[in-house]
Structures are given as C-alpha cells and as structure tokens.
C-alpha cells in the first residue's frame, strides 16, 4: 500500500483535448443574455439576428445546450417577475391595460427569443425531451404573472366585475376584455378553464339565480320569457365578442338552468299569464318564445306539451259534453273545427310544427271527440249540411279545404262504422231528394273516405251513386219506349239496389189511381228488361210536385212527399174527409200519417188543408177540408215533412242496434282470420289482435268479442283446448 503511495507522478494524458477558450460558453451566453435583456426592454433594433443565432447554435454544438436552456429560463423568469411587479402597481382601470400591454410585449419577446434559440429547439430540446421554448415561455408567464398571488385573484375579479357591469347595462371595453381572455386561451385550455371559465360560470349562475327570482316575483310569464330570451342572446353575443367559442354551450346552459329549468313549473302555470292563458288568447309570440326557450332544457317541451294536452282535453270535454252545445250538430262540429284550426295555427306559427305537439293535439282530439257517442252522427250531419246548402258559392278549392278538415275529425273517430251508417242515411236522403249541391264534392269526399278506410268502406256509397245514374238512364228508356205517356202525370223512379241503401221496411200505401197505373207500367217495363229482379215501392221516400187551384183561383205548385200527395189527391173527389177515411183510403201507417197531416194542416203559411177542430196535434176524430184561403207569395210551395233532423231517441237506439248487428260478422271475420294464421291463441291475445285489426273501423267491445268467440265455438269454427281452457284452437 505504502509503495503505491510513492508513485505519485502523473502521466499526462496523451490525447490532447481540444478545448476552446474555457470561458467561451460564459462569454457567448453573456452576449445572448444581454440580447434577451435588450429584447425585453424594447431595445432590440441594434441586434443582429445572424450573430445571435450563430452564438446559440455554437453553444449547442459545443455541448452547452443545458447551460443555454437553463440560462434562458432564468433570464426570462427574472424579467417576468419584474413585469408582474409593474402590473401589480397599476391602479384601477389601468390594471387590465397594463397586463395586456405586458402580455403583448412578452409574446413578441418570446417570439424573438425562440428565433434565436431555434437550433436548440430542434436539436437539444428534441433529443432531451424538454419543454420547447415557446410553451416554456407561456408556462413562465402563467406561473410568474397570472398565478402571481397579487395578480391572480385581482385579475379574475376585475374581469368578473366587468362582465357584471356589462350585464347591468354599462359599456365596457370589449376589445381589452377579448385580448386579456385571449391570453388565458393562449396559455392553454386548462388555464382558461380553471383560471377564468369556471369562476365565470359560477358567478353567472349566482347572478341569474338572483335575477330570475326577482323577475319571477315581478313579471308575468310573457315578460319573463322576453327577459330570459334577451339574457340568452346577450350571453351568446358575449361569447362571440370575447370568450372562447367552447364556452357558449356552458354559459347558455347556466342561463337555461337558472332562468328556465328552475322556474319551469311556475312559469307554465302562472296565473292569468301562463301557458293556458297564452293558448286561450292566441299569443303566438309568447308561445313561440316559450317553445324556443323550453326546448333548451330537459323536460321543457314535455312540460309545455303536457299542460297543453290537459288543457285541450279539459276544454274539449266541456265542448262535447255540454248538452247546450250539442243541440245544433252543425255548430257543434264547426266549433270542433274552429278549435282545431286554432291549435293548428299555434303549432305551426309558435311551435315550429313540432311533430310531438301535433301528436298531442291529435290524441287530445281523439280523446274527447269520442267522449260524445253522437260525434259520428254530428260529423255526418255537418257534412250533410255543407253538401245540402253550405257549399253554394264557395270555390272548389275551399270545398276541398272544408272536406279535408272534416276528414281530420273523422280520423279521430273510434266508431267509424257508426259514421258510415249515418253518412249512408244522410247521403241517401240527399240523393233521393235531389238536394245535393255539388256532385263533385260528394264524390271527392267518397274518395277521401276510400283512401282513409279502404275500398270496403265506400263500396256501398259508391253503389248509391251508380244507382242514381242507372235510374236516369232507365227513366229515359222508359219514356222513350212509351211516347204516349208524355201526357198526364210524370213518374220518376229511382231503382235502388237492396243492401246499398239504408232501407226502412217498405210501408205499403195505396197510391192514387193515376199514379198506380203508371207504376204498373213501369214495373212491367223494368222487369221485362231485367229478368229475375224484384221491385218494391219505397213510398215513404218519394216526393211529388202537384198542381192545385185554391178557392179564389190561385194556382200553386206544391212540392210534397209521396204520402202527402196521396192524402191531397183524395181531396180531388171530396171536400171533407175524416182522419179515419184518410187512413182507410191511403193505408199509410198511423205515425207517418199523423206527421204527414200535421205538416199539411198545422204549419203556418203552409197549411193547404184545414183541420177541425184547430189544434197542434192530430187526433183520430179530426176531420179535414181544403183550405181555400191558402195564399202564398210564391207559385211553388214546398210543404215540408215534420221530421226531426237529428235523430229521435228511439231512432238513435235503432241505428245503434243496427250498427251493433253489422259489427258481429266483422268481429267474427276478424277472429277467423287471426285464428286461421295462428292456429292456437289464448284469450287475451285474441282480444288484443281483434281490437287492433278492427281499429280503423271501430273500437270493438271485449265482451262482444267474447260472445262472438262463443258463437264461433258453437258453430265448430273454434274449440277450447282440452288442457288449457284459456287457449282456443282453430278448426279447419
């Protein structure tokens, strides 16, 4: 050991390390450091970029990258510390301006420093995975200026104060605001979000919480919505002016939550100005505003829609169940149409034609229209009214519009077959009495019904039109082959196919001889050309035009029903007839006869015969004479029949019964169709499927379906499963 200690001579390393000036690095760095100082002091005009770049390059090349890197950070940090002191010293309003000014200076300096250090950026920093010059410069600014304790909260509060001022109507320097906030964005998304956006959103939330509370206490719903809308546009504008575009969604959701979502129920139900009030008063602007604001929040539109639906249902229920209002069917339907028009307009102008609102409207109508069992009848009556007289002088296009609207109501009906029944009756009356105004309108409606409900629904209705057409041809043929008949009374026969028309039991009645001869001729003529048919006379449905001469020689043409004609013709042969005599001669059923006589004798201005004794009602002991004193301004006088336009109670019952009767085969057909394809099915499923299949026509009653199933079982179409009694089997 001690030996070794002696050998203290050293052998010089053979390799001569080429060392540049040992102070080379320090000297070069000093040049660069001075340049950085000059750049920060805005005294860079004398600097040579080439020289500085070359020096920085050389430092990296000679492995002094680390020194260069740490040196630049230290220099920049000290400058920024100085700057933050200057910013801190700025008073009041100049604070933001100062920070903005210094930020711009820093950015420019940073750019120049990066230019100088470009080579280091590409090589040394790249290979050592350090932070590049530019992001490092931003980080230093963030840490030494923005996060500097004496600036941090002051800066935030200044910004929030300015926003608050702007919200309360003051004008602020938006350009400066934009620049400062842009600084946060440049420093990185997280800096913007943490140091500005989040506190901004919190402050906004607090502000709107207070403000919305104030508004809701003092404003009505319409005004409140106006204010909320204004605030919302203001915030969106604010974002466009000086915030990051990504903040728009966040700040609007704050406003939405505080101003709308939190007060939604209260707004909608606000007394005297809430949604119902707006609907009642057609406040399209307010409604539109409500729609646009509420759609922004969860469940907003659902709330609006629910309130509208319940209002509609309540209103509709009152409309259809008020006995006063259902007195006049035409008015009843017109009122429904008006309501629909009203809400259609609201939905199209204020609710942007929102499908869900349309659906709500439809379901509400469907709900309350079917609350009144007479709706199908009324709708048919409405159409009847329109097609009898209402459409005169209305352009074709408008006719279509009215018919389309009626179809809309029709669609809501659950019992479409009931409508069909009535429609058939009413159509028959129109056709037979020649009261149809427009053949085109009639056919157009049939086409609509056909597209809505299918061929089956309208085949009989179309048959009625065909019958009318054929009858015309037949009559032309009849008179063509009997030219001798041009003298004397004219008989016009409409041959109606059984089944297509709503037939009432044919009431036999004795026609006057003149007429019955003609009828016989027609019968033989018709049956001669159409073998194998049977004709029966529906005297209860005919009309007649007869000429009459009264006491002072006044001539009138009377338009009467067939029954009335039969009665009047009797007076050609005798002056006075008793009720019994008339009944005997004509054999008209008592009820019809009474009605007929009533219309001839008891209607003021139309009383072509007199009744003795005078009274309103016809008695079995009454007797009748021609009213010689009858006068009328018109040559043609129409004697109406006392018929209730609306159905009487027993008639209604009868129609109802017929509808029920017609439904039976349809239900059975549906059951068989379903069972044929499914073979085995349980009770509940059958009911469900049948109901579904028949929906377009009517709402089948489950008990009725059950009865039909029983009937089918009796007739061996189905059987119950022996093991599981709830199952039915189809028997082929």
């Amino acid at each position: 050991m001690s030996n070794q200690k002696k050998r203290n001579f050293q052998i010089e390393a053979f390799k001569h390390r080429v060392v540049v000036d040992p102070k080379y690095a320090d000297k070069t760095w000093q040049i660069l450091e001075r340049a950085i100082h000059q750049i920060y002091n805005q005294d860079a005009s004398g600097l040579s970029f080439e020289e500085l770049y070359r020096n920085a390059y050389n430092m990296v090349l000679h492995k002094f990258g680390e020194k260069l890197y740490t040196g630049f950070i230290a220099t920049m940090t000290s400058h920024l510390k100085e700057k933050s002191k200057l910013i801190e010293a700025a008073q009041g309003g100049s604070f933001l301006e100062e920070i903005n000014k210094k930020w711009n200076e820093h950015n420019k300096a940073l750019e120049m420093i990066r230019d100088i250090l470009m080579y280091m950026d590409r090589t040394y920093i790249e290979s050592t995975k350090k932070t590049h010059v530019h992001p490092m410069g931003l980080n230093l600014w963030r840490d030494n200026v923005v996060h500097f304790t004496k600036i941090h909260t002051r800066l935030l509060n200044t910004l929030l104060d300015l926003v608050q001022k702007e919200r309360t109507g003051e004008v602020i320097d938006r350009g400066l605001m934009r620049n400062v906030i842009k600084m946060f964005m440049d420093l990185g998304e997280s800096v913007y979000q943490e140091d500005f956006e989040k506190p901004f959103l919190d402050a906004s939330s607090e502000f709107y919480k207070v403000e919305s509370q104030e508004f809701i206490e003092s404003c009505d719903c319409g005004d409140y919505l106006k204010k909320a809308e204004k605030r919302l546009t203001e915030e969106i504008e604010r974002v466009a002016h000086y915030l990051d575009a990504k903040s728009e969604e966040k700040i609007t959701s704050v406003v939405e939550k505080e101003m709308i979502a939190n007060h939604m129920q209260r707004l909608v139900h606000m007394e005297n100005s809430g949604l119902v009030n707006m609907l009642l008063n057609d406040k399209y602007d307010d409604l539109g505003r409500m729609y646009n604001l509420f759609r922004r929040v969860t469940n907003g539109l659902v709330t609006v829609r629910d309130v509208m639906t319940s209002h509609l249902r309540e209103m509709g229920k009152q409309l259809v169940t008020d006995p006063e209002k259902s007195k006049d069917p035409v008015e009843f339907v017109q009122r429904l149409l008006d309501e629909r028009d009203k809400y259609d307009k609201i939905i199209s102008t204020a609710f942007g034609n929102d499908k869900t609102f349309q659906n709500a409207l439809n379901s509400s109508f469907e709900y309350f229209i079917n609350l009144n069992a007479r709706s199908p009848e009324f709708i048919s009556l409405f159409v009847d009214d329109k097609l009898r007289k209402g459409l005169k002088g209305i352009a074709d296009v408008d006719v279509e519009v009215i018919l389309d609207k009626v179809m809309m109501l029709f669609r809501y009906l659950q019992e479409k077959d009931v409508f069909e029944k009535y429609y058939k009756q009413h159509l028959a009356k129109r056709l037979l009495s020649g009261k149809t105004v427009s053949d085109e309108a009639e056919r157009s409606l049939i086409v609509k019904l056909k597209t809505e409900c299918g061929y089956q629904f309208t085949s009989k209705l179309e048959g009625m039109f065909t019958d009318m057409k054929t009858s015309e041809d037949t009559m032309r043929g009849f008179y063509g082959s009997h030219p001798e008949l041009s003298e004397g009374p004219t008989l016009i026969v409409q041959v109606l196919t059984t089944g297509s028309w709503p037939t009432q039991p044919a009431v036999p009645c004795n026609l006057p001889a003149e007429v019955s001869v003609l009828c016989e001729k027609f019968r033989s003529n018709y049956l001669g050309t159409h073998t194998g048919r049977r004709l029966s006379w529906q005297t209860n449905m005919g009309t007649a035009d007869i000429k009459a001469i009264f006491g002072k020689g006044q001539k009138h043409e009377l338009n009467v029903s067939t029954f009335q004609m039969c009665v009047l013709m009797l007076f050609n042969n005798s002056d006075r007839l008793s009720y019994k005599e008339i009944e005997q001669a004509t054999e008209i059923p008592a009820a019809d006869l009474k009605r007929c006589l009533q219309s001839l004798a008891c209607v003021k201005g139309k009383n072509v015969i007199k009744k003795e004794p005078m009274s309103k009602d016809i008695g079995e002991e009454d007797s009748f004479v021609v009213n010689d004193k009858f006068t009328s301004k018109f040559y043609k006088v129409k004697i109406g029949t006392v018929v209730a336009q609306k159905e009487t109670e027993p008639e209604k019952q009868e129609t109802r019964q017929r509808v029920e009767e017609d439904r039976k085969p349809q239900i059975e057909a549906a059951i068989v169709r379903i069972m044929k394809s499914r073979k085995i099915l349980d009770h509940n499923n059958i009911i469900a499927e049948v109901t579904k299949q028949l929906q377009p026509r009517f709402l089948a009653n489950p008990t009725e379906i059950k009865k039909r199933i029983e009937s089918l079982i009796e007739r061996d179409f189905l059987e119950r499963d022996s093991a599981d009694r709830r199952l039915y089997r189809y028997l082929a």
Binding site: G46, L47, F49, E50, Y53, E111, D115, M118, Y119, T123
Partner: protein
Amino acid sequence: MGLSNDRIRFNVGGRIFETTATTLANAGRGSFFGALFDENWNLSQPDDLFIDRNPDCFAVLLDLLRTGDLNIPPNIPERLLHKEAMFYGLIDHLRTAKWGPFDGNRLHLSRSVTGIAPGDGTAIRAGPDGGCCVAHGSVVHVFDWMLEEHPTINLDYQRVNDVGWIDSGNIVLSACERLGRGDGGMGLFSSSSGELRYKFQVSHDNQIKSYSAGALSFSPDSKIFTSCKGRSNEYGIGVWDQITGKQLDFFYESPGWSLGDADKLQWLSGKNCLLVATLFPRKDNCYISLLDFRDKNMVWSWSDIGFLATAEEKRVRDAIAMEESNSICVVNEFEDLGFIDLRMDGGGSSVRWSSRSRLMKSKMPDEPCYPKLALHEGQLFSSMNDSISVFCGSDWVLTSRLKRSYGGSICDFSIGGDRLFALHSEENVFDVWETLPPPII
C-alpha cells in the same frame, strides 16, 4: 414594396449570393431565413448580409429552395451538407427532396451500409421517417434517415427476436429470457439515445411472470401484440397499450395450436383481428390463424397437418394477409407464391399455388435464406436468396427484380418511410433502395 426591394445579397463565408425574399420564403417561418426576415428583427443594413457558413453547401441549399430539387456535387460530403441544413433549419426540406414516393418498380440502390456484427442478422425494420434498425444477435443497431448510426440498443443482452418502430423516436424490441432470471421480454427504447424507456410486463393471475417475446405487430389504435412464451402454460399472444404501457389482454394458446412460437404477427384493421403464423422450421407444421380479441375467438385457421406427404416441397415459409383480396399469400422455399382464401374456413384446406414457371433457375447460393414477403400499397414483395421480386396487379405478375452482386442471401427486408431496406446474411451489409424523384416533365 417594389420589385427591386425583393432582391437580397448574402455574403456566405466570403462568397456573394444574390437571391430574392420570395425564394427564401420557401424555407418557411420555422427556419433561419423565416426568422431572419421576420418583422421582429430589424434587418436594417442595406449591404450584404454576412453569414458565417460554408458557401458550397449554401449554394446547394439555395438551389433546393429555388427548384425543390436536391443536387449534391461530388465534392461535398453529405454529412457536411446535413449539418449545414440543420443550421438553416432546412433538414426537412432536404429529406423530402432526397427521394421520391415509394414505387416498387422504380427503385434504385441508393447506398449499402456495412455492419460490424459478429453473426447473422435477425431482422431489419424500416422506420416511419426513412431510418432503420437492424437486429443482430443481442443488439439492435439504429440508423436515422441520414443513415447515421445511433447508440445501439439491447435488452439485458438477450437474443433479440424482433424489433419494430412505434414512431420515429421509439423502438420496441422483443427478446428471449434466460430461464428464471426475469430478464428478456419486451422493451421500449429511444431511437436517438438507445435508452430503455419502458419494460413491458406480462402478468397471469395478477402475478408478474418473466417471458420470452417473439414476433411483434402494432395496430393503428396504439396496441402492441407479441407472441409470448412463459414458463408453463403462459403461451400465447400478449397485448399492450403503446401509450400507457399496460398489458391489455392475453390470448392463451389452445392445445395443439402454436401461438407462443409465432414467426409472424400482422394486425388486420379491416377485419379487426390479428394474423398469427407459426411456420416451419420452428415447428414441424405450419399454423396460420386469425384471432378476434373481442370475444377471444379464433375466427379462421389453416394448417398443413396431413398435407405434407403429397407435397413435400411446398412448405410454407412466410405468410402475409391481403385484406383487399380476402386472402393470405404464402411462399415456399422455391419462391412459389400460394394463396389461401380467407372467406372459407381453413381456406378450403388448400393452398392455390400460383402456376407461373419457376423463377429461380439460377444456382442456389451457398447459404440459402428462407423467403420473406411484404406488401406495400398493392405491390407484393418476395425475397429469395440474393434478390427481391416485385409483383403487381390482381394476378400478381412479376414486374421487377431488385438484386445486387455481393452480400449473399437476403435474410430479411422491410419497407417504410418510402424506402426499402434489405439485409444480407453474409457480410451483414444492408442495402437502401429508394424511388427516384419524379421526372422533370
């Protein structure tokens, strides 16, 4: 600004150059010239701008900015030029101009780099920016696109099985383990410094196990796949995340089907599954399969078990999936190409060998190498002995052959960064093939 003001005079290392600001603007803002002419810098003097650099190189780089073409006079060393380009911040311009977009039919031999490895090369892999790495025994030599060699990489000095580039800065290396030592496996390295950045671990039943890593593959959604051999049953394919480095998944080898020894892995983006091929001579038979990791299912498989008696000479030596034509291309030791249909399970159990006449009529070299396959933008490459054949079109017609006179058989080749690298077994030399820049007209 008048036209005359556009003129710039430089004095570069004593020689005067005249050019325009417009030409120099081609250098971009992130270059020396971009900064020099930025308004931040007060470029006041009207005289010549002095730059203390080499004038010859400046002339080359100025022409590069003027024409976009790179012409290096023979008297200028490339290294010097690269260094000058680094100074001016024009290195990317230089790289882009140096060679054209890859086309297998227009390649020319750009350089041959001789290695100093004591044994045969294992693998060569092209990097995304034109660099490459070569695995020899237990070390990996890394070259950047300038073909400058960087510090070598090794993982515990174990035999390297495969290497691959994650990006131009990161290389993954898979290596054998010495039984029970817990070394080997798979590691992530810096391509510039050769430092180990991360060592991937495999765990079974929450216990970290040592393993040997084999073939590698990467998917575009940042996954790394490798075949793993553990101690007992831990054979199969491991999956890691490139970013977190965490093990994501493990596909255990099913009995009778070799995954842990796989020679080749290939991720198929379109089918969302991994091709695994285990080939002769590592195993007596060839196994090719497609794995779907989502439901741990082998969705397609093929093996030559039972087929060899009749076709002894047609042993599959490499395989590559071609998603566009729904097939797998295979090659045997005579460079016959064969195709297996991916749409039929087991490929209909047969390989459709292409019937073209035997291409290799030449004398076999002393030390033959197994053929390798590569696919690049619709061109198929197949190496055999000392040459690489290029096939094109739907019928894979032979269109070009890359060959040079020395270096012996090609043991591996790789395409990437618009370059083709071929590693020879003798001399352990590797060749760099590049596409020429597009013609002038």
